[in-house]
């Protein structure tokens, strides 16, 4: 059995599940229900298999690799190589896919009769296949195919709800950005090929000595732009808040939770595994980018009142946090501090896993909220906790996890990231130390702001009174959805409580990558689940959780039953200063965020616009209505993307004038070309 799994067949089986799901749902497209269930079931089954496969690979010390003997195209070789890193990412993909597809079975119902469900199933499964191949391909061109499959399938998922022009526009932006990013990636591969003479990752790695330093740096920049575009680092993030909301929620969960991580995967694969040794400034650059993405990401999230856009911006923030880990790993490995590099890489990978879990959880619960309220605008929710208690609970868990509250998983990866940054501050001198200090500061502020953002989100969505008719009539969503979300919520608690073993498992992954893999890691996990960084710092999730629970119950029991148990608790209206309280008096998400927006107005460039309408224009004493409109200026479009596209179109207008419709000038071109060439070639 084990041998069977460790042979490439195991991987083929994995793929074939999803391919079967794709084709099946396409075949049964006539029957919505069948197609949906088919694709969902196959996807879940496949991901269960994927979990088994990858976890065995992670625990064992094997690596599966396979190559097709020959193809009709030279340079291309259909080959994949699944080492620990790939296995880890396959694990993440399968984990999230399992719950998302489970959720999808229930969620897709509301598309019945409106769209072709078979196509949805097809692209959903293809999307997963693409991701699986991306993290396992071992040849540049084959990788490129997988990458394109992933991008295009996800594009079709984004524009699936195609009657909404907004989605179409979002899809356009998404595919364009992806394609441009891909061009940068291709060029970096080209440069590698130019010097190493092969697209096979292994060969490239072997011949890395042939690549001159300058070329390496160029490759770094190109790859950073290319993969950063997919990962959504600022300023290449503009597609992300547009595309993720557009897709169906279980897909946005996958995109935001997993797909953008493929960019991270490739960064690790190339910078840490293929291109070695590396100069230290790469790490510094990535640290800076990470800090910027984290801070700005969370700030933009605070300004959002579209729930899915908010979550999308949080993905940018978390990518930033992951990059902090990755960047410090690069810096350490270039300064030949493998022990520390190990910690940072572990932190990055662990946060990748955690973010995948809680972000997909949040997207799924957001999806079910949207599904019931038919709007993405937070301002029109309110009080949903009474109508959809479970969804509220799961969202709460997600919020606590993403804003790094112990004992949920988010905290521990952020803790580890902090620790690696601290180590950097201690053990590295010169300007690099300052980047580490700044990154730590950015991370600290990010944590606080994320807390604020999710207090705002949860409060505005679930607490107080409904602010719209839709919200008044919301109902709890169906079991499929609840199971999908609930298990993710449990997972994020689980990975928090047992962060010890998880960390030590991930440590092996990073151990297999960092150059001197003999390096002993500072991070150690002992019997009672205490994670300790040498003797610098230590903590234990279970103990904390235990103490907390004990204290909580103790306090509760004491207060409830020991002191004055005859207490009467009566229910009354909220104090309303005499005027009766309407939903319009509640705090909205915009007003909640207003103060922070104004504090950071230097960065966010908010546009405040007040408008007062009076009962009669003569006497301006009785205002009929006051409107305050806060909007954030999209500086990236206004100052970069807009001018660029304008320039291109202006150029095209210029060039169009070649085709001026006059035949004489056409002949003149020919004659001119003839004479010119004749004079040039003599």
């Amino acid at each position: 059995m084990i041998n069977f799994i460790f042979s490439p067949i195991g991987f083929f089986v994995l793929l074939s599940f999803f391919i079967a799901g794709a084709l099946g749902s396409l075949i049964f497209q006539k029957n919505d229900r069948l197609a949906n269930v088919w694709s969902g079931v196959f996807a879940s089954a496949g991901s269960i298999w994927g979990l088994i496969f990858s976890s065995l690979l992670l625990l064992g010390s094997f690596s599966v690799s396979w190559a097709a003997n020959s193809t009709s195209f030279s340079l291309l070789s259909v080959s994949f190589n699944i080492d620990k890193l790939s296995a880890f990412f396959i694990f993440v993909i399968s984990l999230i896919t399992l719950f998302c597809s489970f959720y999808g079975i229930g969620y897709v119902k509301h598309f019945y009769k409106r769209y072709n469900i078979g196509v949805l199933g097809l692209f959903f499964n293809l999307f997963i296949v693409g991701m699986l191949l991306v993290v396992s391909a071992a040849n540049g061109i084959f990788w490129l195919i997988a990458w394109e499959i992933m991008s295009i399938a996800s594009y079709f998922l984004v524009v699936y709800d195609r009657n909404d022009q907004e989605n179409v526009r979002a899809g356009f932006l998404y595919l364009v950005m992806t394609h441009v990013g891909t061009v940068f990636i291709i060029i970096s591969f080209f440069l590698l090929y130019k010097f190493t003479g092969s697209f096979d990752f292994s060969v490239v790695k072997a011949n890395m000595a042939l690549v001159p330093a300058l070329a390496k740096d160029i490759i770094f920049v190109l790859a950073l732009i290319g993969f950063g575009t997919k990962a959504g680092i600022i300023p290449f993030h503009i597609w992300l808040p547009a595309a993720h909301p557009a897709a169906p929620s279980h897909v946005s969960g996958l995109m935001s939770g997993v797909m953008i991580k493929t960019g991270i995967y490739m960064m690790i694969r190339i910078f840490l595994n293929m291109v070695q040794p590396i100069p230290v400034w790469w790490g510094v650059i990535i640290l800076i980018i990470g800090s910027i993405s984290a801070l700005l990401g969370v700030l933009y999230a605070i300004t959002e009142h579209d729930i899915k856009k908010l979550l999308a911006y949080h993905s940018i923030e978390n990518i930033g946090i992951i990059l902090l880990g990755l960047g410090s790993a690069l810096a350490f490995s270039s300064l030949n501090l493998p022990t520390l590099a190990l910690i940072s890489l572990t932190a990055a990978l662990f946060h990748t896993l955690n973010h995948a879990i809680f972000k997909s959880l949040l997207f799924l619960s957001a999806g079910s909220v949207i599904n019931k309220n038919h709007t993405r605008n937070i301002e029109e929710y309110g009080g949903l906790i009474k109508f959809m208690p479970y969804t509220a609970l799961f969202f709460l868990v997600g919020s606590m996890a993403i804003s790094a509250m112990p004992p949920f998983n988010g905290f521990f990866s952020e803790w580890l990231t902090f620790q690696s940054l601290f180590q950097g501050i201690i053990s590295i001198g010169s300007y690099v130390r300052w980047t580490f200090i700044i990154s730590a500061g950015a991370l600290a502020f990010t944590g606080g702001l994320a807390l604020l953002c999710f207090a705002k989100a949860f409060g505005a969505i679930f607490l107080a009174r409904p602010r719209s008719e839709e919200a008044k009539h919301a109902t709890e969503s169906s079991p499929w959805l609840l199971v999908g979300m609930g298990s993710l919520a449990l997972l994020s608690l689980f990975f928090g409580l047992f962060s010890g073993p998880v960390i030590s498992a991930i440590k092996n992954v990073s151990q297999s990558l960092v150059i001197s893999s003999s390096a002993v890691s500072l991070v150690s996990v002992n019997s009672n689940q205490t994670i300790s960084m040498g003797n610098f710092s230590s903590l234990s999730a279970p103990v904390f959780a235990l103490i907390f629970v004990v204290v909580l119950t103790a306090v509760f029991l004491l207060v409830k039953y020991l002191i004055y148990c005859r207490q009467k608790v009566s229910v009354g209206a909220t104090w309303d200063c005499g005027t009766d309280l309407t939903p319009r008096m509640e705090i909205t998400s915009t007003s909640f965020a207003r103060s922070i927006i104004l504090i950071f107005k230097g960065v966010l460039r908010p546009r405040l616009h007040y408008d007062v309408k009076y009962h009669d224009s003569q006497s301006r004493y009785l205002p009929e209505s006051r409107t305050v409109d806060i909007s954030i200026k999209d500086i990236y479009s206004t100052y970069f993307y807009g001018p660029l596209s304008r320039f291109i179109f202006a150029l095209s207008e210029k060039i169009k004038s070649i085709q001026n419709g006059n035949i004489n000038s056409y002949i003149l071109y020919i004659f001119g070309a003839l004479l010119l060439v004749l004079f040039l070639v003599r």
């Binding site: 501050i425 600290a444 606080g448 705002k456 904390f544 909220t574 007003s591």
Partner: protein, 306 residues
């Protein structure tokens, strides 16, 4: 075991006293007699024996919040050095863990404020979250300075370090202390951030969030606030000026440790009281400047230290 019990109950036991002390000092400075030191205990007792009204809009978050907030302060209080640095707690007394656990309390406080759907609660939560979000950087970095100095982020380890005037790291520690002090004021809603003594809706932050509470839950909230103040006071004195803290298990040592804690905290609280009497509350939009100042102070401290 006994020691741990002491460690756990010390904070809730002493915190009302601290509040009373501050109030007393302020009263004195306003040439008033002021309530007695133990008035806060009486208030809690009174509140615990009142019936309570809960808003019809409130959900379980509102009902559960006081317990969570209070328990957080207990857990944190039990995992920071109070009277003895010899108890080495490897499990929960990591500085980041402490900071983020406090965040749990803030989070639920804010949610509770929003839950009743009143106008005040929402604004209170908004302001509270804004302040604490900006304070977080300063908090972590001021503790970080000490962590670098003592080579550990474990609070007990930190408190076991002696920092004396002749120590090269004296200046940075002082800077870090100033930063921490600002954060202390911010996190506990003291002047110039918040006026804990008023219910003027334009200015109040903490009171606005708990305005819907009554009876036991109000008592818990108030108590939790008191605990938090004491926790920060204890951190301030034990981490930055660990002189007098018990370095070994032993009845006398512990006794003197407690005494030292009381005295040092009294000094800090006295400072708070004086500050509250002499300066006015700032405009809300000037607060971020102060908080950034604390962050900068800490950065400077770290720069000096390393």
């Amino acid at each position: 075991m006994i020691i741990w019990l002491l460690q756990i109950i010390l904070i809730p036991a002493l915190s009302p006293l601290g509040i009373g002390f501050v109030k007393k000092i302020k009263a004195k400075m306003q040439n008033r007699q002021g309530a007695s030191l133990i008035q806060p205990y009486r208030d809690l007792w009174k509140l615990f024996h009142k019936d309570e009204i809960i808003s019809s809009d409130a959900s379980w978050v509102f009902r559960a919040a006081p317990f969570i907030v209070f328990s957080v302060t207990i857990v944190v209080g039990s995992s920071i050095p109070l009277f003895g640095s010899f108890l080495d707690n490897y499990f929960t007394s990591d500085m980041l863990l402490v900071v983020y656990s406090l965040a749990i309390g803030t989070f639920f406080l804010a949610l509770a404020g929003m839950d009743t759907g009143g106008a005040f609660g929402g604004f209170g939560s908004s302001r509270e979250m804004t302040v604490s979000a900006l304070a977080e950087g300063g908090l972590i970095f001021s503790l970080l300075t000490l962590a670098f100095h003592s080579g550990s982020t474990n609070l007990f380890k930190i408190s076991s370090q002696v920092i004396a005037a002749y120590d090269f790291s004296f200046l940075p520690v002082i800077l870090a202390f100033l930063g921490f002090f600002i954060v202390l004021l911010a996190e506990n809603g003291r002047f110039p951030f918040d006026n804990s003594a008023t219910h003027l809706e334009l200015t109040m932050i903490h009171e606005a969030m708990i305005i819907e509470y009554s009876g036991k839950r109000l008592a818990l909230m108030e108590w939790a606030a008191a605990n938090k103040l004491l926790i920060f006071g204890a951190l301030a004195v034990n981490l930055f000026f660990s002189a007098g803290i018990a370095r070994s298990a032993g009845l006398t040592a512990i006794f003197w440790g407690v005494i030292a804690l009381l005295i040092k905290v009294a000094v800090v609280f006295f400072a708070i009281a004086v500050l509250e009497s002499v300066i006015a509350k700032f405009r809300f939009f000037r607060l971020p400047d102060i908080l950034f100042i604390s962050f900068i102070l800490n950065i400077a401290a770290i720069a000096l230290l390393l």
